[in-house]
């Protein structure tokens, strides 16, 4: 049972946040409101009238719209075509494109949601695609808009814009149900917060409630949001990167002359808006992407040209940023995923055969140690919640002796309880003397974990700052603004290799703001 006697009331013009961990039943509840699921018991009242929704069509007719976490857009259609889809207004058998365009412009103007009706959806950055979804819902004349984890895919800037849009909509009298598990956003925007845990409403609280309290309501126990750690004791230089230049899949320069050093026993955090070369930087280190120039060394051993298998073998642990794409094989069991990169090493097996007994034993241990919530180590990973899938990846990488540990977006799409756990593990790894590189687009995460923060912008390290640096200053650096006062604090940027870059394909300045954001979608 995903929902167990839930009550929820949303007032007109209200932003109502629905807070809960992954798998708490938020989406199930909203799918019932939107007619995708039928409740076994209970009723839905719209303006005091009981309604039953057999399909989204009924829900839309009753004035309820939904923006799904994964967009329901046709990539090769234009914005206007996507919005007309499902509500096609034909004139003499032809699709009335002009009317669709007009509607888009009208709605986008009225609510301050800039979208270009003629742009192809596949060319739009994620944030803009989301605006299209919202506009699509609004053109159906809805009074209640459900946003299912809308910020999970957005950069901090886009999140800010979205919150702005939500405020505008609420001011215009629309009600909004905002589903999320991010506490900061909830506090910033919500008029009322309903916390759901294990399919039940735990409580309904005002937004002034402190974050710790919200978190413990969600998880059901006290949660420590602060990352506590002792001062670092940096040792030898483990990872040394110099003059690294890497291109992305389209051949556009993504990493443009990076020099970095990560020492044993410290966490180097790489902050930056998604799509500024962090992905490519990490992939180059892992041997997943061939750099154009530069050197990467671990303990003075050159990594460039080594296979990924070799790099993993040499004591590098890697948590990739896109868990379901690169981190786990969903069809595999938890046990198999726990040995995904060690299946041919003792004791799990050798070059020829696996040792299922050893794999099973190890899996039982890891599940215990890393508190992976699964029905059994033999359950497929696809049955696990996002947070537990991530714990599988972290458990796999941290269960062997490491020299260097790289974690990219280690807590993206992970619930509060698991975030606490994963952060604790990363700090523990640092404390045993591993060099740790954390890449995250969540500034809070970087600031909490890192002993030094490298801010990355357009493929370069703009500055390396201490975690005590004011947020505003780091935020400005992330936006590419180096104040004159901050300039001397960038010694790592030393030999600027921009000039030595091969005969410039200056695709870098294609579309100024958008080029960066676009990389985020892939």
């Amino acid at each position: 049972m995903a929902n167990d006697h839930i009550d929820l009331t949303v007032e007109p013009g209200e932003v109502h946040a629905l807070l809960g961990e992954n798998g708490a039943g938020k989406s199930t509840l909203m799918n019932q409101l939107y007619g995708l699921l039928q409740p076994d018991e209970g009723e839905v009242l719209v303006d005091g009238v009981a309604r039953t929704f057999r399909s989204p069509r009924d829900a839309i007719a009753a004035g309820i719209g939904m923006v799904h976490q994964h967009f329901m857009l046709v990539p090769v259609f234009t914005v206007a075509e996507n919005i007309a889809l499902g509500a096609e207004k034909a004139r003499a058998g032809f699709l009335d494109r002009r009317r669709a365009r007009r509607e888009v412009l009208e709605v986008s103007e009225r609510y301050g949601l800039p979208v270009d009706p003629d742009a192809l959806v596949e060319n739009l950055p994620v944030g803009a695609q989301q605006r299209v979804e919202i506009v699509k819902a609004l053109t159906r004349d809805v009074d209640l808009l459900i946003l299912d984890e809308p910020t999970a895919v957005l950069t901090p800037q886009e999140t800010g814009e979205l919150l702005e849009v939500m405020r505008g909509l609420a001011a215009a009298g629309k009600s909004i149900v905002f589903i999320t598990h991010k506490l900061k956003e909830v506090k910033e925007i919500a008029d009322r917060i309903t916390v759901i845990r294990r399919g039940r409403t735990v409580s309904s609280v005002p937004p002034e409630t402190p974050e710790e309290e919200l978190a413990s309501l969600m998880v059901g126990r006290a949660v420590n949001l602060e990352i506590t750690k002792a001062p670092a004791e940096p040792g030898r230089e483990v990872l040394k990167i110099s003059g690294l230049i890497v291109d992305d899949d389209r051949g556009v320069r993504a990493v443009d002359g990076v020099d970095l050093v990560v020492r044993a026993g410290e966490v180097l955090g790489v902050a930056g808006v998604q799509g500024n070369g962090q992905t490519e930087l990490v992939e180059a280190v892992m041997g997943l992407r061939e750099p154009r120039a530069g050197t990467i060394q671990v303990d003075n051993e050159d990594l460039i040209g080594m296979t990924t298998k070799h790099i993993l073998r040499s004591g590098v642990g890697y948590v990739p940023e896109d868990r379901s794409h690169d981190g786990v094989v969903k069809e595999f069991t938890v046990a198999e995923n726990l040995v995904l990169d060690q299946y041919d090493r003792a004791p799990y097996g050798n070059a020829w055969r696996l040792n299922p007994a050893a794999v099973a034993t190890a899996a039982r241990e890891r599940v215990e140690q890393f508190d992976i919530r699964t029905s059994s180590p033999d359950a497929t990973v696809s049955t696990l919640s996002g947070g537990n899938q991530q714990k599988v990846v972290v458990a796999r990488e941290l269960s062997r002796p490491l020299r260097l540990f790289i974690a990219a977006q280690p807590t993206r799409g992970v619930d509060v309880g698991s975030i606490e756990f994963i952060h604790g593990r990363i700090v523990r790894e640092r404390d045993v003397g591993t060099a740790v590189l954390v890449v995250s687009s969540e500034l809070d995460e970087v600031a909490g974990l890192a002993d030094r923060i490298a801010v990355m912008y357009r493929g370069r390290i703009l500055a390396i700052v201490s975690p005590d640096t004011p947020r505003e200053e780091i935020g400005l650096l992330m936006a590419g603004i180096t104040e004159p006062t901050a300039a001397p604090a960038t010694p790592a940027d030393g030999g600027d290799p921009a000039s030595e870059g091969p005969a410039g394909d200056d695709a870098d300045d294609d579309v100024d703001g958008h080029g960066v954001a676009e990389k985020g979608i892939k």
Partner: protein
């Protein structure tokens, strides 16, 4: 593994992101499951649990029902294709009994012959018991079934294995043809002592098929050329090469003007299992190879790699598995299996190359793999079913004068129903089980 789903505990729904793409189907199924399944059986006996699981849409149930459905449609085809029976339908309202009797007779006779030709003929058993018949006649149907099944096991395994690694090997036919060529050449050109000659000929077939699999494999790995297109083209190449080769001097049987090669030396032929019957060691080899493939898939490091690459290539790559190497090795292995299938065909039953020596075993292998759900033992079972249909079809043709093509139609119908599990589910109102979607996921390879 697949049968224990619906009775299961009401687990927390899978994480939200995963639920979304399949929203329309999976979400509607979920609330229905507890209401239909949970309520009536608080004090459930073993039998009720067993029956409930039996009637849920698990793989085995769907497969069995698919066969049943195909037989029903086949029965209709038998009725409409018989003019005498159709005549009785012209006065259906006057004497419905005639039409029903005639239909029943023709259908039951046909299927009885199918059974007698494929498994056992009771008349032969009584004759043997009375001393008028021989044991040969008793085991003859089984022998025929296994003879037809053996090559299909190999080509089926070839397709199934490639599919588990995410590759769609349409080239089983070409690989089998090259396998027959190499095995036959080794069989009549090499002057070797008995046992060694057979092993050498089998190995030659295996290597020939492996070579024919290596080409699409390396092209896929290095250049991204789609294996479906490359393997289809290589099918033509192999067939035409065979047609040319047979007519060459030293290959063509001396004294013959038609397209047939020298016969394989008796030292290289697969010996019959029990002396007098047609079934040969090929089926024994097939079972052994099935076991080997099952081991390879589930217990070997390479099997782990290929399953990881098949399910999620980027994750496999991130975990340090070389996707290119896996694709190449996989196609070599798959080609080798199909080549071995061709070798058993020519060394076991045909004994000489003709243009049609490999028959249709490569393409039938696709169906067999599909029917066997890409699992080794499932593929073996499916191949035996296809062999039985074929063997029974021969008898059906000669005794009930029903065209052998009906068997092909039956095979095709079975596969269609397997490929559309939702259809079978809807027809029989099966309860949803997650495994039922397995068949639908077959299309993912494209």
């Amino acid at each position: 593994m697949t049968t224990d789903e619906p009775a299961g505990t009401p687990r927390e729904p899978a994480d939200e992101p995963a639920a979304e793409p399949a929203a329309a189907i999976s979400l509607q199924d979920k609330p229905a499951a507890p209401t239909a399944g949970e309520k009536p059986d608080n004090g459930d006996s073993f039998m009720s649990v067993f029956l409930r699981n039996l009637w849920s849409a698990n793989t085995v149930t769907v497969t069995v029902l698919s066969v049943l459905l195909a037989m029903v449609i086949g029965a209709i085809l038998i009725i409409v294709s018989d003019p005498a029976v159709l005549d009785t339908f012209s006065y259906l309202t006057a004497r419905p009994g005639d039409a029903l009797n005639a239909s029943w007779t023709v259908v039951s006779n046909a299927y009885a012959d199918l059974f007698k030709g494929a498994i056992i003929d009771p008349a032969a058993v009584t004759a043997w018991a009375n001393g008028t018949g021989t044991w040969r006649q008793v085991v003859f149907p089984i022998s025929e079934t296994l003879t037809y099944a053996a090559p299909l096991v190999f080509t089926g395994l070839s397709v199934a294995l490639a599919f588990r690694g995410g590759l769609f090997n349409i080239g089983g036919q070409g690989q089998a043809v090259v396998g027959t060529i190499c095995a036959a050449l080794a069989g009549f050109l090499l002057p070797l002592p008995p046992v060694i000659h057979l092993i050498a000929a089998l190995a030659a077939g295996l290597l020939g098929g492996a070579l024919w699999g290596f080409v699409p494999g390396i092209l896929k790995a290095r250049t991204g050329a789609h294996e479906v297109i490359v393997t289809i083209m290589l099918n033509y190449t192999a067939n035409l090469f065979l047609s040319w080769l047979i007519l060459q001097k030293g290959i063509q049987q001396s004294g013959r003007s038609d397209a047939i090669s020298e016969p394989v030396d008796s030292s290289a032929q697969l010996p019959a299992v029990g002396g007098e019957v047609r079934v040969n060691l090929g089926i024994v080899l097939a079972v052994l190879v099935t076991a080997a493939v099952a081991w390879l898939l589930n217990r070997s490091a390479f099997g782990f790699e290929l399953r990881a690459v098949g399910a999620n290539p980027p994750a496999a790559r991130t975990a340090g598995i070389s996707v290119a190497r896996t694709y190449t090795l996989l196609m070599v292995t798959a080609g080798g299996l199909a080549g071995l299938g061709g070798a058993t065909q020519v060394l076991g039953t045909a004994h000489a190359l003709t243009t049609q020596v490999a028959g249709n075993i490569g393409f039938d292998g696709l169906l067999v793999a599909l029917l066997g759900r890409n699992r080794p033992w499932g593929t073996l079972a499916a191949a035996i079913l296809f062999g039985a249909l074929r063997a029974g079809g021969n008898r059906m043709q000669s005794f009930s004068s029903i065209s052998l093509e009906l068997v092909t139609v039956l095979q095709a119908l079975i596969v269609i129903f397997i490929a559309a599990p939702a259809l079978v589910k809807a027809i029989f109102h099966l309860r949803a089980a997650r495994s039922a979607r397995l068949g639908a996921s077959m299309a993912k390879g494209w």
